[in-house]
Symmetry: C2
Subunit: 319 residues, 2 copies
Amino acid sequence: MNEFEIISRYFSKLSSKNHSALNLNDDVFFDKSKKLVVSVDTYVEGTHFINFRYPELVIKKILRSSISDLICKGVIPKYYFISGSGDKRSFSRKNLKIISKSLKKEQNKYSIFLGGGDTVYSKKLSFTITSVGFSKKIIYRNNAKLHDDIYVTDNLGDSFIGLQVLKKKISLNKDLSNYFIKKYFQPILQVKISKKLISFANTSIDISDGLIADLEKLINKQKLTYKLFLESIPISKNLNKLINLNITKKLTSVSEGDDYQILFTASPSKSRIISKTSKSLGIKISKIGKICAYNQKSEIINEKNKKIALKNKGYYHKF
Amino acid sequence: MNEFEIISRYFSKLSSKNHSALNLNDDVFFDKSKKLVVSVDTYVEGTHFINFRYPELVIKKILRSSISDLICKGVIPKYYFISGSGDKRSFSRKNLKIISKSLKKEQNKYSIFLGGGDTVYSKKLSFTITSVGFSKKIIYRNNAKLHDDIYVTDNLGDSFIGLQVLKKKISLNKDLSNYFIKKYFQPILQVKISKKLISFANTSIDISDGLIADLEKLINKQKLTYKLFLESIPISKNLNKLINLNITKKLTSVSEGDDYQILFTASPSKSRIISKTSKSLGIKISKIGKICAYNQKSEIINEKNKKIALKNKGYYHKF
């Protein structure tokens, strides 16, 4: 059973439909009457981050991953709670100082502050982050319309290469290594676009599990399919280099997640305002596909106009 | 370093004083402008609960422990988020069914619902619960006044005996065992008194670490001391039996925590309204001591009017 099955089978009935809250199929909780948006995520060493050798980077990464859930829904995060379980070594004075400093930097960068938290003793290191924001509206999941265009912000795939470098599965020169590792640990969150998003996006999600996996999650309760154009999926020049050198494949790299870019759909009539927004904010927004009718099959089309199959759709937390 | 030192040394500066939020020395986070109250707690197997042999009871216990943080501040909990880390055995289909059923029962009992959560794979079982409520006002910590009376709701100490029975450190007959184990797993939360509390309590806390430890926490930033009268501390008839049989000592039992009763201070002028509230709600509220001047020493007075010393002040999460 993966976590989606767990949620729908055992816990959906525990949420309330009377309080305008989202059902548990969404990534954030929304109390419309209170305008409150909450996201809760747990990060375990070995699963969500490799190890705690660089506490500063791990803390940055997981905090960004958490607030990304709000940002992609058009909500500006206001504060967060962090609860750490770990042993004396993980929470040594030196590490605590580093953690505190790292959080401070992120707070300044994203104008958020620490609401509270908890530190408990455990042999296994993990963090739970609760992010809170306020908004009258949010962009829901499963709200794509037939013939919507599919968009994504910035570039995808760099983060995956960074992880492969860290895992020593890919070896690159120092400059390239540093470039990709930085992309892995410090994904760029599209805060500026967040508030604009509500005016044109029908549905949205952040890419944490991989482009394909998250696109499928985005419309998993809808009778819709998608067509993606591989050529249109935006990647960095550096990633393009690796693809040309046959070090990685494009579809693989963008399907592995950890990008924290925003994936959304919008009516073709919004095409102009989206490219205007992209220019005015200086944020790359690429049209990468279409939402299609249910009687078609979801497909990915390569540069030769051929359908391609995907082996691994991305990351699912399995039990 | 215990968790209080960690919080004050490394994380206090990360919270905001501009947003009317409490500083991290308090048990809950309060955003006055949004009337939002949040409590985050992590519960680790082996530290906060013995094991997961009875998932139903563990889930009830930790959920009550979490919402108790709001209730003792005069805030009615509205929803909660639960994030579980564990292995396949802990989150087997059978256990998930039990967990879901147990949460459902608690939801009905306390009129709360599940806002969301996360399930992740980890070798070590732990849960993080975020509880949320809304209130214009809350009762702060460190707001006792000189000469305040000290009060506590219901009885203390039963939960500790239940834990000793579970750990096989005390052996009792079946009826008594069941009585104390139930008190350990299913503490009675004083929801009814919660909203009234704001009209008479100056400062409050729930007893999770033990009467003395929590009383000291309650006024740890104030230049005040306390005098407690051992005889006035309320205990059950069953606990009294064990004391008479020399199986446990009164001060020990009430100092070990897990009671989730409300400890508060109030001006002597509120004495009448408190006893009226107690009668009208049918909830026992006992006056157990006084808040005293800083030039005195905090002390506990026994039935023979003698000062007594305490070896173990309660439970601190140590690192």
